[in-house]
């Protein structure tokens, strides 16, 4: 089928098998490999993207559901003013170790800060509950988000 999809502000017209996963369209067809596959079953959040304003696992979304959707990936966030702050805070606070979950964590952070630009630790932990990190024990990810919220006031 043919679908129209907007990714990071660019409109694409794609001829696709409707059952293919949004994750594969992003990675294989559009070359946006910042979005990772950790489990392929919606448990780990490494493939998180924002679709029509909502944080979703792109491994669970058949592309047929993406007609006219507005999708933002980590590449899109990283290029934004808030993304610059988040990614810098993540580096400063050592929120990334192996880094494989980190793009998904950045997406969860973006979604959280859109809802609440000044979250507390508990709210941050709840905001990350769908994203598994095996390296950090999460504490330094929380630190990165607290730092980003502080430095990003007003953005």
């Amino acid at each position: 089928m043919k679908i129209e999809i907007t990714v990071n502000g660019t409109r694409h017209s794609l001829e696709v098998d409707p059952l293919r996963r949004l994750l594969d369209i992003l990675r294989d067809d559009l070359g946006l490999v910042g979005t990772k596959e950790g489990c392929g079953e919606g448990e780990c959040g490494a493939c998180s993207v924002i679709m029509d304003g909502k944080l979703v696992n792109s491994c669970l979304i058949p592309v047929a559901q993406c007609e006219n959707a507005d999708v933002t990936t980590v590449e899109g966030i990283a290029a934004s003013p808030r993304g610059e702050i988040i990614t810098t805070s993540f580096a400063n606070m050592h929120s990334a170790q192996c880094g494989f979950c980190t793009p998904g964590m950045v997406m969860a952070t973006e979604a959280l800060l859109r809802r609440n630009p000044d979250p507390g630790e508990q709210e941050i932990r709840e905001g990350l509950a769908g994203n598994i990190c095996r390296c950090t024990g999460y504490d330094m990810i929380v630190d990165g988000i607290l730092d980003a919220a502080k430095r990003g006031k007003g953005i």
Partner: protein, 738 residues
């Protein structure tokens, strides 16, 4: 140029790889555009144990290939410590999922369709899936005549006499389960054969997610023989935790053979093999399950006179690394205690499960669980608080280790304990909860939650066991100063999140007076970097980082502007150490890292759920090269150890298959499960580590599980000698009337 110490080495800097990783710009193996690559998949044994009598491969369309043991030009074995695991099964099968062949071709779906048509006929044998079934050789012995891969024995002093004259003997059995590394990036490798590259026979190149590029090279050379050259390139790893120490060899050697077969027909055509999570969880190596029986002989006042310990590790269907995991287990089996006499036995047992392998800690977390839970039991037997009981027997400088070596460093456990008590309030809370026990266990006991707090004390031998660094690894590391003055670090050390791409730069930058960010780190490519050894055994910063520090000092001395200069340093064993590999006698480790963990829990007597409400870790790592790198290891490692203790149940069925198959079944900690871990270090510099640093990457997984189990013991008032302590296990323990 300036002198070292221009900046405080411990003060944290931003992770140099942090921003690219956060922005999605780090390139993992699955992100590399190998557009022309064939998809390669394994055909794995559909039965657990027995003999293949017939293999049927369907006719393959052009461009599709089948590769099996008949294609191996060299030796059909995976070169680990032993080469007993065949690269491709010939006829004997010892575990479900053992690699029989590779099918590859341009279309992934077609590869899967063809794979489903491959079939084997076989004669099945009875599987032996537990330690006891392995020990009793159920179905006949699969390894040797007794299913024992290795049987190690250490002893000193007159243990029998100590037990004969003991005022009291305490005895216990302690068990730990499988654990899955669950690195977030699954295993993935790309292999390609180019008949024209390199030497006369051409070159097989392997690129991918691995801890040890030179190990993978060695394993590929074993199967390929002398006819071709091998080059291996490590990509950034999305986590390893030991899971990418041995498995990339098990995976890469057969793939190298397949690359050779394909490359002869289609020169330069890459093969890509990326596991999905299901394949990764089902067939890659896990932490060895263990069972330790420990007896201690005591004087009337609780004195520790002798220990008699017997630990079993479940090695799975092939030996692979079990001997060296067992060594580390045995060498850590008396923990941080000075025991006048000891008899320690360790055995690795063959069973019909996936071969067990490397996982952060490498046998130490299992052995330390046994000794620490036993010390808790001894303290209860003598009616004293468990920390003050332990403190009577702590090792100190000059004391004898269980292998007859010497503790060479000043032991600062007293300071670590003072600090963790300050952070956690352990002693006061322990007493408070102890006093509450009578109410909890009395007639008024109701549905109110109960609390407990537990402590563990441990050490971890840093670096390779024995004289392995000198005898086997012979690590070398180089610095190259380019003509433009940029300094490049050349080592085979790999970045899996533990931070060497940041900490190496800090070490070299500090010596040379260069900003760490301006130092370049070469990719770990065996065609470019010297063999500085594998990225394992908590050796990277201590061993390789020290070589870099010393190379940087030399470069500083000979530095000439505008000229390319290279300095290489080779490992030399620190003076004053002695080791006999045949008798396992002497200094098993050049030095130890030391740690103390505290865990506080709240137990719900209705649901049997345990909530972790506090976690602390204080360590002697020599000196932290970067405070946030080290604290990040502490927090992450303790989270894994607490997961191991509280959540991560991985069981096998009667056919040796793991019953937890997905991330929905195998539960690892989320951001909501544990509170913030209080992490701290106290400096105790080591002369042969860079700026005094010792190895620490594994010891952070050595103590959380015992502290948790000790806390649960206090909360429920019962012994908890096995992990994982999931609610159903706790229910069994609470209702077991002994």
């Amino acid at each position: 140029m300036s002198s070292p110490g221009q900046f405080d080495i411990t003060a944290a800097i931003a992770r140099i790889d942090g921003k690219d990783k956060a922005a999605g710009r780090a390139v993992y193996i699955g992100d590399v555009d190998y557009r022309s690559a064939l998809t390669a998949r394994y055909y794995r044994s559909p039965f657990t144990r027995g003999t293949i009598t017939k293999l049927t491969v369907p006719p393959l369309p052009p461009g599709y290939y089948w590769i099996d043991h008949r294609d191996v030009p060299g030796h059909n074995g995976i070169a680990l410590i032993k080469t007993d695991l065949p690269a491709f099964a010939v006829d004997e099968i010892r575990y479900r999922g053992q690699i029989i062949g590779i099918l590859c071709g341009p279309d992934a779906e077609e590869v899967d369709r063809l794979l489903a048509l491959v079939a084997v006929a076989y004669e099945a044998k009875e599987a032996a899936v537990t330690l006891d079934e392995g020990l009793s050789c159920k179905g006949g012995a699969m390894a040797g005549t007794d299913n024992i891969y290795a049987d190690l024995n250490l002893s000193h002093g007159d243990t029998d006499a100590a037990f004969a004259s003991a005022a009291r003997i305490v005895e216990g059995v302690y068990e730990t389960g499988f654990q899955e590394q669950l690195y977030m990036e699954t295993q993935g490798l790309v292999a390609v054969y180019d008949p024209c590259a390199g030497d006369a026979g051409g070159t097989v190149t392997i690129h991918g997610s691995m801890q040890c590029p030179y190990y993978v090279k060695h394993a590929a050379e074993e199967v390929l023989g002398d006819a071709v050259s091998v080059r291996v390139m490590g990509s950034p790893m999305g986590g390893g935790f030991g899971g990418k120490e041995d498995y990339p060899e098990i995976m890469g050697a057969p793939l190298a053979v397949a690359a050779l077969v394909v490359g002869r027909a289609e020169p330069g055509r890459p093969l890509r093999m990326l596991f999905d999570r299901t394949e990764d969880m089902a067939f890659t190596s896990k932490r060895h399950p263990s069972r330790a029986r420990i007896r201690t002989a005591h004087g009337a006042n609780g004195e520790l006179l002798a220990i008699d310990s017997d630990i079993l590790l479940d090695g799975g269907a092939y030996e692979t690394y079990s001997l060296i995991v067992l060594m580390r287990a045995v060498f850590h089996s008396t923990g941080v205690y000075n025991v006048p006499s000891a008899r320690v036995r360790g055995r690795a047992v063959a069973t019909s499960t996936v071969p067990s392998g490397a996982f952060r800690g490498f046998g130490a977390p299992q052995a330390l669980f046994g000794i620490e839970m036993h010390m808790e039991k001894c303290a209860r037997a003598f009616g004293v608080e468990p920390l003050s009981y332990r403190e009577r027997f702590f090792l100190k400088r000059g004391d004898r280790t269980v292998t007859g070596g010497t503790i060479h460093e000043t032991v600062i456990l007293d300071r670590l304990i003072a600090r963790i008590d300050e952070l956690s309030g352990y002693r006061a809370r322990r007493e408070t909860y102890e006093r509450a026990q009578s109410a909890w266990n009395g007639p008024a006991a109701g549905r109110a939650t109960r609390r407990g707090i537990g402590i563990s004390v441990f050490n971890h031998g840093a670096g390779f066991t024995g004289d392995g660094e000198q005898r086997i690894i012979k690590g070398r590391a180089s610095l190259r100063k380019r003509a433009d003055g940029v300094v490049e670090i050349l080592t085979a050390a790999t970045e899996m999140g533990q931070g060497p791409t940041t900490t190496f730069r800090k070490v070299v930058g500090a010596v040379l007076g260069i900003a760490p960010e301006a130092v370049v780190v070469a990719e770990p490519d065996t065609g470019v970097v010297p063999d500085s050894g594998p990225t394992v055994a908590s050796r990277t910063i201590m061993i390789v980082g020290y070589l870099l520090q010393e190379a940087a000092k030399e470069l500083r001395e000979i530095w000439v502007d505008g000229k390319e200069q290279t300095v290489t340093r080779a490992y030399e064993m620190p003076p004053g150490l002695a080791w006999d590999q045949d008798t396992l006698h002497g200094d098993a480790y050049a030095c130890f890292g030391w740690g103390v963990n505290v865990c506080e829990v709240e137990f719900d007597p209705v649901s049997y759920e345990v909530k972790i409400i506090g976690a602390w870790g204080v360590y002697d790592v020599g000196r932290a090269i970067d405070e946030r790198v080290v604290n990040g290891q502490i927090q992450g490692g303790m989270s894994q150890a607490l997961g191991y203790a509280a959540l991560e149940k991985l069981a096998v069925d009667g056919e040796g298959r793991f019953m937890q198959r997905t991330m929905a079944d195998y539960i690892v900690p989320t951001s909501l499960d544990f509170p913030r871990t209080g992490a701290a270090t106290i400096d105790n510099p080591y002369a042969y580590g860079p700026f005094g640093a010792k190895g620490m990457g594994e010891m952070v997984h050595d103590g959380g599980h015992m502290a948790y189990a000790a806390a649960v013991e206090q909360a429920i008032g019962k012994d908890c000698p096995r992990i994982p302590l999931v609610p159903e296990t706790i229910l069994e323990i609470v209702h077991d009337e002994d």
